[in-house]
Amino acid sequence: MKCLFVTVGTTSFDDLIACVSAHDSLQIIKSLGYNRLILQIGRGTVVPEPFSTESFTLDVYRYKESLKEDLQKADLVISHAGAGSCLETLEKGKPLVVVINEKLMNNHQLELARKLHKEGHLFYCTCSTLPGLLQSMDLSTLKYYPPGQPEKFSAFLDKVVGLKNKH
């Protein structure tokens, strides 16, 4: 079972949902070997009809307490540029395509997605270029994303506040 997970976070991204659920995109997704598509659509107004056939299942929901499970299941994640979604996906070692919402160009979260793209950790596109990218991209070119190191922060903080080190 090969699974593609699309997430738009707490807001809405109708263009993306409309784009991936369009007939042509579904054909591409199927041709790439995926047989399950999960759409997390937030408060969007584009709500594709879920269906299930022998070879392909489309699931749609608005929110879940945690996306952990769906991220874990996914073989590929398509996400909005939200920092939370990007980082959570990369930490799980899942290949990621970030789709930029051109209607929110000044959104500062783009800074992070752009940077992570520059460093080779994810693919980056707009709704109109997504189908083409899905067909042409090579997931094996993505670079491993090392997890952040909060322990460096706690060590720094212990020192500057004068906590006696008990370790």
Partner: protein, 216 residues
């Protein structure tokens, strides 16, 4: 006329004293050794809360009790904090269940609010923040950029200026900020004791900041 001059002189003198006090409060000070400390965390909306909880999760149980401040319109953060603290308690069965509190203050700025009205909403949240800080008297304020952190940090500074308590302010710029500081960051760069950035580009632009690599 003389009245005005005296008034002006008095205001000037108070201003000078306040600036002087601020300078003293922000001067690097000797580190005082301690066993534990009272932590106040400013959690913001959405992404800010997720980030700051990752940092809090790395801290030892010496950072106790923990006080969280959130904007009063932010139910989502409140739930995140509760489930985070539940997880922490489950993970650390040996240590005593750490105490934590959630405080709500009026939001200083909603997304897309005009700058002019922001002045007034910030003053309003100052009005609520200061008594809260005065009551909690934290040793350390930890924040990462939601608008709510401005009135809290100014209140914490006031505590120092008034000589009640020196509060250490640590600001961690969000991982989202690669090239430029957030507005809160630009303000608190000058007013925090330690200012941490997570990308080398920012460290180059702001040499006085601390860069420890990516920490969330």
């Amino acid at each position: 006329m003389v009245c005005f001059q005296i008034l002006a002189a008095a205001i000037g003198a108070v201003a000078v004293v306040l600036v002087l006090r601020l300078w003293i409060v922000l001067r690097p000070q000797d580190v005082r050794l301690r066993e534990s400390l009272n932590l106040l965390v400013v959690a913001g909306s959405g992404g800010h809360t997720t980030e700051i909880l990752r940092l809090v999760g790395s801290l030892s149980s010496a950072y106790s009790p923990r006080h969280y401040v959130i904007a009063d319109t932010d139910e989502m953060s409140s739930n995140k904090i509760k489930s985070f603290e539940r997880d922490q308690a489950n993970r650390d069965c040996n240590t005593m269940y750490p105490q934590y509190y959630i405080h709500q203050i009026p939001r200083s700025r909603e997304v897309q609010q005009s700058w002019f009205s922001t002045v007034f909403t910030t003053l309003h949240s100052m009005w609520v923040s200061f008594p809260l800080i005065l009551q909690v008297k934290p040793d350390l304020v930890l924040c990462n950029g939601p608008g709510t952190c401005i009135p809290i940090c100014i209140s914490a500074l006031l505590l120092g200026i008034l000589g009640v308590k020196k509060v250490i302010i640590v600001y961690v710029e969000s991982i989202c900020r690669v090239e430029t500081l957030s507005l809160s960051g630009k303000i608190l760069f000058h007013l925090s004791d330690h200012f941490i950035v997570q990308w080398p580009t920012l460290k180059e632009k702001y040499p006085k900041s601390v860069y420890l690599g990516r920490i969330v």
